[in-house]
């Protein structure tokens, strides 16, 4: 056993030293591991690796920020007890506007350093990488997962306090590059020839607050963050798969009920309209039986007409109950020729589907009307045929059902695309559309 290694269950206590600059007491929580310590009183950067606590630099605080998670707070993240020992605010300047984010240094004597980063109340648990990601075009691949390039920027340190594993100073500049694969993210920080890679994993602020028992209320996240997992991740694909399954079910129902449909002809008879004749034009058909309790009835008309119309005012009347179903249909057919050639309009046939007709003994009252002038001039009688079928397969309702079922997956797709649109609106890379689909399918 290495006597220098910390004992299991050992809870290190901070070592108190005096700042060589202002004499204030400084607590060293990661003594032996931290490289730089920033005095919270005079903001001097002190070399923690030097037993003499040499001052590396002094700076005038451009801003003073109170960390949301107080330094020295302890909490378990991913099964490990961490203590916050350092805090810095960094920022980038884009077109004259500063965008700031905050980073906390976490320390565990067995695990070393980790970081928590926060931007607009979006949090990431950041782990330094021991191996480098590989290139895949503009993307990076790490541990078999592909990360899309999101943003590159030059970041500056604006405020710093506590202990850090490097000699951090205000004004320190690094070139950063972010690659995302929600909820993960790869980040590189370059200074000169040195490149440090880290992997972030998105976390909820409420979990951080609970972990470190922060007393202040947890502010809600603003907007969509680069590696924030989409609430629609996987839902779009599932919604469309479910839609496909439902369409298959509806198709099965359609075929099943089509096979069961009786499609029985109950009346098929020819009649003649004589418009020129005086007197009552209405007449009734023979009585026919509609079997079953409730089903549809199709009434078909076929009139032998040319350049003429016939309007049929009809009533399907139940002989026993006196219940009538009134409806009207028109058959009109016109043809001719002009400078564009021959033309036709309308048709000699027409049919209507009467749904929900109870079973019983029925007859059809028919009252034909036509244009007497045309009829009188060209023809004296118009033959027509009435064809009534009980219980025909009705496919339209299934296609209507498929349309109704289409609404939720389309809505989900639109919402998911809008979420990804917000995410990639913050990116300085193109091709945001294709990225949305890839993240959608990941779960």
């Amino acid at each position: 056993m290495n006597p220098a290694a910390p004992r299991k269950g050992f809870v290190p206590k901070p070592k108190a030293l005096n700042c060589p600059s202002c004499g204030s007491q400084i607590e060293l929580r990661a003594l032996g591991a931290a490289a730089g310590v920033i005095c919270s009183y005079c903001s001097s950067t002190i070399d923690a690796t030097n037993p003499q606590l040499q001052i590396i630099g002094r700076w005038q605080a451009a801003m003073t920020i109170e960390p949301a998670i107080p330094l020295g707070s302890r909490g378990k993240l991913k099964g490990v007890l961490w203590e916050t020992i350092g805090f810095q605010q960094r920022g980038i300047n884009v077109e004259g506007t500063n965008y700031f984010w905050r980073e906390y240094v976490l320390w565990n004597p067995y695990q070393g350093f980790r970081y928590l980063s926060e931007y607009d109340n979006h949090w990431n648990f950041v782990t330094p990488l021991q191996s480098l990601p590989s290139d895949s075009g503009p993307s990076k691949v790490f541990a078999g997962e592909s990360y899309r390039q999101f943003q590159t920027a030059r970041a500056y340190t604006w405020f710093v306090v506590g202990e850090f594993p490097w000699m951090v100073q205000v004004g320190e500049a690094v070139d950063t590059a972010d690659y995302v694969n929600p909820p993960k993210m790869l980040s590189s920080e370059s200074t000169g020839n040195e490149v440090a890679w880290s992997q972030g994993e998105y976390m909820l602020g409420t979990d951080i607050w609970q972990t470190f028992q922060v007393k202040t209320p947890c502010p809600p996240p603003i907007g969509v963050y680069s590696n924030q997992p989409s609430p629609y991740a996987g839902r779009v694909r599932k919604a469309w798969l479910f839609y496909g399954a439902m369409c298959a079910l509806l198709f099965f129902l359609m075929v099943f009920f089509a096979i069961l449909a009786p499609s029985k002809t109950v009346l098929n008879k020819s009649y003649v309209v004589n418009p020129a004749s005086a007197g009552e034009k209405s007449f009734v058909s023979d009585i026919f039986t509609l079997e079953g309790k409730n089903d549809n009835v199709q009434v078909g008309l076929n009139a032998d007409i040319a350049n003429q119309w016939v309007y049929f005012s009809m009533a399907l009347i139940n002989e026993e109950t006196g219940q009538a179903f009134d409806f009207g249909r028109e058959v009109s057919y016109y043809s001719g020729s002009d400078s564009d050639g021959s033309w036709t309009e309308g048709g000699r046939t027409d049919d209507v589907l009467l749904p929900n007709i109870p079973g019983g003994r029925y007859y059809l009252r028919i009252e034909p009307e036509t244009d007497p002038a045309v009829a009188g001039g060209l023809t004296s009688s118009i033959p027509f045929r009435v064809h009534i079928i009980r219980g025909i397969p009705y496919y339209l309702r299934y296609f209507l059902g498929m349309f109704l079922l289409l609404i939720p997956p389309i809505w989900t797709s639109i919402r998911a695309a809008a979420f990804e649109g917000k995410r990639w609106a913050e990116s300085d890379t193109s091709g945001s559309t294709s990225s949305s689909s890839s993240s959608e399918d990941d779960e």
Partner: protein, 61 residues
């Protein structure tokens, strides 16, 4: 995919199955009239459908 979508889908599919069995449709191209006298069978002119005199198309192209 939410439970709401599943419930909605089942409602649609169930409604279609029921409408297929019962022949029900919310859209009916007819007017239902009760109490038509039996005499209409022998005297069709004694009953006028609601659709008699319905506006219709006159003329061709």
């Amino acid at each position: 995919m939410s439970k709401l979508y599943m419930a909605y889908s089942m409602l649609v599919a169930g409604g279609l199955a029921v409408s297929s069995i019962t022949g029900y449709s919310p859209f009916t191209p007819y007017d239902k009239v009760d109490g038509v006298p039996k005499s209409v069978r022998n005297n069709p002119g004694a009953y006028r459908s609601h659709y008699a005199g319905h506006a219709r198309y006159f003329g061709g192209k």
